[in-house]
Amino acid sequence: MNLASSTSHDPIILGIETSCDETGVGIVQGRTLLANHLASSVDEHARFGGVVPEVASRAHLEAMVPTIQQACHSAGISVTDIDAVAVTAGPGLVGALIVGVASAKALGLALAKPVYGVNHLAAHVLVDELEHGPLPEPVVGLLVSGGHSSLIRVSDGSFESLGSTLDDAAGEAFDKIARLLGLPFPGGPEIDRVAVEGDPQAIDFPRALSVDPAHAFNFSFSGLKTAVARWIKEQQMLGNNISVPDVAASVQEAIADILTRKAVAATMEFGAAHLVIGGGVAANSRLRALAEERCAAAGISVRIPRPGLCTDNGAMVAALGSHVVRLGAPASPLDFPASSTMPIAQILR
């Protein structure tokens, strides 16, 4: 806890997150987390093998007010105590974002409090302040989840994209490969679990590392997925027994290798001494271990918030809201939209 940097005079920010399949509401005062509630529709998506936007949107609407209510209750505040509302304005699934944005506007208008429409990716970086205190700048963020794989630089308060995925997000690659292996959705935690029993060196899957310096920090995972599918087919044709744990461990090794290698290289190249990792895939045990090992070797500090703050949640949105309020940024105009493609350079609508 970082109580020293927060006082009872700091404004109370309620953050709403609905960009994918988690309805999140968090409450933050300064850099102190007061509450973080989540309603997830992940189980409803399992039988579809991926997030179905309409299923997610329906679930958000049902969960929205109860989740706000629970967050206020755990924070021990009345909703009228909040000083500002922050909400993910993008990027994400538009139909899902819209539910949170409509709700945030209502909350702000009902209470006559400002509303800040903020960037989901920037929130994944800023959330670490709740756990490890103010972010030193410059800092590089590696954001990896089912919806995004991005490298971001934060310096002098501005956010800049260094690279992102050209095809599948890292979490999506886990999901698709898990399906090839007959493992349930979401694939990341399943592969992590099964990989414990496997040999990460068993199969040398390809690492798509771009040689083009202009795209040095982009990612591509579709080649890996294809390689895994091809390898499985070959083994079947040869009549070989396939060890799912070995495949899972080798895939996990390849993904963790690509992500950490690029993240460390980007951090060094941009003269940052710190790397923040966020997104659901940050919970992957191999990614965490390898990141710590490589950052230590490179003399970089690595900051990874606890899993509950890495996956999509409302506290991260409140943390970014708190940040923009501290900077004295003006509230978003009342007619701000939900945007599927909100660029990282724009942290606030």
């Binding site: 909703v79 139909g95 209470l111 399906r179 079947q236």
Partner: protein
Amino acid sequence: MKRILAIDTSTDMSTLALVDGDQVIGSAEHTDARGHVEAIGTLFTQIPELDRSNSEFRIPDLIVCGVGPGPFTGLRVGIAFGETLAFAWGIPVEGICSLDAVAHGIVRTEKLSGDFVAAIPARRGEYYWASYTQFGQRISGPHVNSTEQVESNPLPIKTGFFPWGVDLAHCVGVAQELAVTPLYLRPPDAQPQAPNLGVNVGMGPHEQ
């Protein structure tokens, strides 16, 4: 008198109305098929009596949301907005079928000689519709069907009418009170996937 804030975003039109009994205190509309979430906040501010700093402000007694049927994405804006307002103000919220408000408006403005169908366009050349008596009581529906199926109904079909906020407010206590959840009429458009891609893999050394 009971002060009601009515909200509907089930059609291309986003509409808000604040009524107190028979008196309309204020109303605001905006028409944009894809602009509900952009419009809703501005519409709210166009009714000065909803501004907390206005001396005429008081928290309404009830919020009523049109719960469709209607295109889902827009529909959810009004419901999320209305439910959250109700929570923040600590007041009740109820749902009314948006077609009931449409029918209320038709009865108010048209000379009717008998039962009729109220229909609003859905996507893919379909209509959301329900049939009503000439006094605006729902006989059947709401349904979603193709244009041909709706047209095969012998009753006169009224289209081009909207669920105005004022009509929605006036439906309170008259029309059927519904849960504040969208009348989707259809399950999500998605196909469950087979558990794997037909790649048959054993569990290797850990196989049972």
